[in-house]
Symmetry: C2
Subunit: 232 residues, 2 copies
């Protein structure tokens, strides 16, 4: 659905003309707001900040959204929608449970490249009203449930070692969700490379095999430093 996925340059031109195109303008606002929420946090992002970046004035925003929280909620909805779509695709395709988990891990790094995807994990749910929070948490539970389903399938078909699906889902989701905390587009690794490494570590683990380490470090490995760390 997003017409401008990059989110790099501000969506000013959406408001350059006064032509009636509510859908595009609504999205421009959401995209800009999402960007700002991630940069400065929801609380510190003013409606004026959003308006300024779009070269319009604050009241114009209220032509498309009834209040600030609705903008936040729509960001969540868009992000969870992206994730759930991908999950549905994966669920539909053939393969073992483990392969579906790997596909999930692989797609996640990509989703965390997109602002809306990052919003889902980085933004604070306490900024939502109880009703909106309930809705978002429902979506997240749905995501969780699908991941656990993949894991249960894997245990059933023998591709995943028997374990508590709940803990396995927590562990896997935690590792990939955390990507949105450190991933920077300018970084040395592409989303695909990150996904490949994560998939390997989560399925095979850190421990060396019995005899000798056989698995060679991934081909596209770059030893360059990154200024940001695990916790940043």
């Amino acid at each position: 659905m997003p017409k401008n996925v990059t989110g790099a340059q501000p969506h000013r031109k959406a408001f350059a003309s006064r032509r009636r195109d509510p859908a595009t303008k609504r999205e421009a606002i959401l995209q800009t707001a999402a960007q700002l929420f991630l940069e400065k946090g929801y609380g510190r992002t003013l409606m004026n900040d959003v308006a300024d970046r779009l070269n319009i004035t604050k009241p114009a925003l209220y032509h498309y959204f009834s209040n600030k929280e609705e903008i936040l909620l729509e960001c969540y909805r868009w992000g969870t929608g992206l994730i759930l779509d991908k999950l549905s695709q994966i669920a539909a395709q053939k393969g073992s449970g483990l392969e579906k988990v790997e596909a999930f891990v692989g797609e996640y790094a990509n989703l965390m490249t997109v602002n809306f995807g990052r919003c889902v994990m980085r933004l604070d749910e306490t900024d939502l009203s109880p009703k909106a929070r309930a809705e978002v948490r429902g979506c997240k539970r749905n995501i969780d449930w699908r991941l656990r389903t993949f894991i249960r399938e894997g245990i059933a078909d023998g591709s995943i070692t028997p374990c508590d699906p709940r803990m396995a889902a927590f562990s896997t989701a935690g590792a990939v969700n955390w990507i949105c905390m450190w991933y920077k587009p300018e970084g040395p690794l592409t989303p695909e490379q990150i996904a490949a490494q994560f998939a390997r570590m989560l399925t095979h683990g850190l421990a060396a095999r019995r005899k000798r380490p056989v698995l060679q470090p991934n081909g596209a490995r770059k030893a360059s430093q990154l200024e940001s760390g695990v916790m940043s």
Copy 2:
């Protein structure tokens, strides 16, 4: 250092008398604030909320802290201090790199039980001034660096399969950091049980061994449902 680690009941009694004991009262404020920050978020926590829970008035808080942000910063400092202390202990003890990573994972679940520990990962750094944020990020980089050191040691001593230490640290830290997002003291598993499962999954991975699944599900497994999910 914390005199009351439970954080369960409010620290009202610290202010029951007007006896001069700044250290205890400062800690009572921090502990109460940390609790509230985690419950409602920093932005939505009012100075009056903190004061109310301690049965004092707002200006009394300014006797111990110069402003709201200083309280937040002290929560971060306390939390990172707890983590770094544990890291130092682990670094000092004998063992392979993999064993140190396992020890780290094991301790993490415990740290995420404590409010200050959870603050470090759950709270939004954009609420800090640039200067304070720089300090906190420095501490986090330190934590990250120590974990990567364990991993490099493990690769060197053959206990960890060759890989990019940076990605391995991200993955490991992500999985354990995420614990603070779903862990509830009332849950079915103790921190020790969580730690054990996580250590096993992160080191051995999800994939089943070649022949047949051999590893039996952890002894203390309880199949009870939990209302919260991976994403919550």
